[in-house]
């Protein structure tokens, strides 16, 4: 079983909302051509939900990839922890709550987890990305490839300190 989890979510009919899933697909293509794809578990969905906590079982490292409206351009990358002050939200959950559900349901802490959030500009009903989002996606892809080349918590923490945020 792959020990590193890669999860992206978004809606391809909501413009830049699909930045996260598009980045995951680009990464998957690149990892397949590099012979690295099997080292990772690839998960793509519309939204994060309670059952995504199950994907954390047996993992040593996890990356959550999303699109953000208020994210600094071109992207942010940072470690996350289980959310101690639970969230009030829609059916969808933020990754911190997925971690908290895992922690309390399975009675153990999750593996080190990180969020890579790509800045989007236009989340209206349409297909395709805004020009700015396409540029952000390109920068994020180069950065994410560095992450996948060295998938250890230590390396990712070091990169988090160097990321644009």
């Amino acid at each position: 079983m792959a020990e590193v989890l890669l999860t992206a979510w978004g809606n391809t009919s909501r413009g830049d909302d699909a930045l996260g899933t598009s980045l995951l697909q680009h990464l998957n293509t690149w990892a397949l051509s590099s012979g690295m794809a099997e080292r990772f578990e690839w998960v793509e969905d519309f939204q994060l939900q309670i059952d995504h906590a199950l994907n954390l079982e047996g993992k040593t490292l996890a990356l959550y990839i999303d699109a953000g409206q208020n994210t600094p351009a071109p992207f942010s990358f940072s470690p996350i922890s289980p959310f101690k002050q639970p969230w009030h939200t829609t059916h969808a959950m933020p990754p911190e709550s997925v971690l908290a559900v895992f922690e309390h349901t399975f009675q153990k802490p999750p593996c080190p987890c990180f969020v890579l959030c790509v800045k989007g500009e236009d989340f209206g009903i349409r297909e395709g990305f805004s020009v700015a989002a396409q540029n952000h996606l390109g920068s994020a892809l180069i950065f994410a490839q560095k992450l996948l080349k060295n998938p250890t918590p230590e390396a990712w923490r070091a990169l988090a300190n160097l990321s644009p945020l």
Binding site: G10, S13, R14, F46, Q47, Q49, D51, A53
Partner: protein
């Protein structure tokens, strides 16, 4: 017109807005207008986002539509997928699918029912039920449930996961799957996949039965609250098969009045344009459907689990039917209308879904390889299905170049628009007894809306969004009080109106 929908005058009235409503899909806003004596003169649930998805569909080739419409919803994409496919079956003249295709679509649909109902019951409803309607807001959510009741939280996660696994196997993927195509399905199920899906079923059925017992205990322990919360009577609409049994995939539509008497014993859903009308009201983007012959004031209705279990004559699976009879017994021979009964009905339907899945997995037709049929091409197609939240209508016209020229979608939440508005009026009248906006009042209103599991939009989900804000504004537009729940679940009060 509807009581408490329009105040006679806004002069001297205070306005309370709950914006957005939390733990529902998308963005909703509730406004209340109160007078100096704190009597409610107006209560409305507004839908603040215009989707425009129908325009997005126009011009696309018809065979693309069943995949594209899945993007409408993050929770029930399969319902849109199948409703669109049923409409496109009509477009290509596929009047009778092969038994294998028909059963694989049923399997996909009931997998969807199970995952969606489990998500709502364990993730959204159980925090109120298990932790208390007045418990601390910061704890009243799935994380709070996981902390206090880890076994129940785990059951909810695994039941939802099972429904998703069925979708994965039948549709090929968990999202954007292409399992159903106009005229049938494009993927057979293997014996190995079937056997894998059969393994966990007995355990899941036992867990869901435990969920039903849990809800029943709440109703038995505190009947005065559960029976009266958000109570109002209304017509009910749901799908039934030829013998009157509940059918969530295909059948005629039946409408009963608030006393359980038939308004339409059944009508073919392809005639919906002659039976239903949609009213536009200036204060909401969401339309208000009604039965034309009864008019908008008397012809509105509710849909979804509570309506379905009472419009059908029986559930065609033994455990769920026994549970249905048990639930209906609280009505003492009259239909059950209490808003919180939706949770009870929903978990009974989850049990029915698992029973149907069990039966399908034992059916040899499921492993067949005859997957598609064709017929004489038509210009117009209507597909209707019972989505987890209620009746879902997809209606398309397609030109000779195979492009969609007309698209009309009436989603379950739209059918329930008037019912949800009536529920918040009932709750606000029952529970607003002070001039100060209280968190308890907000949560009671939200609980009433959540019971319908509304899906207001597939909102984009940029991190850090979805605060809850309540404003108290006088008739001149002056803000008197603000209560804000931020994205960390923390409350901030900028002013107190005494």
């Amino acid at each position: 017109m509807f009581e408490l929908e329009n105040a006679k005058t806004t002069q001297g009235l205070r306005r309370i807005a709950i914006d957005p409503v939390s733990r529902v899909e998308g963005h909703g806003k509730v406004t209340l207008l109160l007078d100096e004596q704190n009597r409610i003169h107006q209560a409305r649930l507004h839908i603040v986002e215009f989707r425009g998805f129908e325009v997005f569909i126009k011009g696309r080739p018809y065979w693309e539509v069943p995949v594209t419409v899945q993007r409408l919803c993050g929770i029930c994409p399969i319902s849109h997928h199948l409703a669109a496919c049923k409409a496109m079956d009509a477009i290509i003249g596929a009047k009778q699918l092969t038994p294998t295709a028909e059963k694989l679509r049923h399997l996909m649909h009931y997998g969807q029912i199970v995952q969606s109902h489990a998500l709502h019951f364990y993730h959204l409803a159980s925090p109120d039920l298990l932790l208390g309607f007045d418990s601390e807001a910061a704890q009243r959510n799935i994380v709070g449930v996981a902390m206090k009741y880890p076994d129940i939280a785990k059951q909810g996660i695994l039941i939802r996961k099972y429904g998703q696994e069925i979708i994965h196997h039948v549709a090929g993927k968990r999202i954007h799957g292409t399992g159903a195509i106009p005229g049938g399905v494009n993927k057979a199920l293997t014996a190995a996949e079937r056997d894998e899906l059969k393994k966990d079923l007995p355990q899941l059925i036992e867990w869901v039965q435990g969920g039903i017992e849990l809800v029943q205990r709440f109703f038995e322990t505190n009947p005065s609250f559960f029976d009266s919360f958000g109570l109002f009577e209304s017509n009910m609409m749901g799908m039934v098969r030829e013998d009157g049994a509940l059918d969530l995939y295909h059948g005629d539509l039946r409408v009963k009045d608030a006393k359980g008497k038939p308004i339409f014993d059944r009508f073919n859903y392809e005639t919906y344009p002659q039976v239903l009308r949609e009213e536009v009201r200036p204060w909401s983007y969401m339309k208000f459907p009604y039965i034309e012959k009864l008019g908008s004031e008397n012809g509105w209705y509710k849909v979804g689990p509570l309506a379905r279990l009472q419009t059908c004559d029986f559930i065609p699976s033994p455990l769920a039917e026994a549970a249905r009879k048990n639930m209906l017994a609280i009505g003492n021979g009259q239909p059950v209308h209490s808003t919180l009964s939706y949770h009870w009905a929903r978990i009974i339907e989850a049990l029915h879904g698992l029973e149907v899945i069990q039966s399908l997995l034992d059916d040899p037709d499921l492993l067949g390889t005859d997957l598609t049929v064709k017929g004489e091409r038509q210009e117009e197609g209507i597909g209707v299905i019972e989505a987890p939240r209620g009746v879902l209508i997809h209606h398309y016209k397609v030109n000779e170049d195979d492009q969609v020229t007309m698209c009309n979608l009436i989603v379950s939440t739209t059918h329930n628009n008037q019912a949800m508005n009536t529920a918040i009026r009932s709750v606000a009248t029952q529970h607003l007894d002070r001039r100060v906006i209280s968190e308890g009042l907000l949560n009671h209103i939200e609980c009433a809306i959540r019971a319908y599991d509304p899906c207001l939009s597939c909102a984009t989900h940029a991190l850090g969004e979805m605060p809850l804000q309540v404003e108290l504004i006088d008739a001149e537009g002056q803000r008197l009080s603000l209560l804000c729940r931020d994205s960390n679940g923390q409350f901030h009060t900028s002013d107190v109106y005494g």
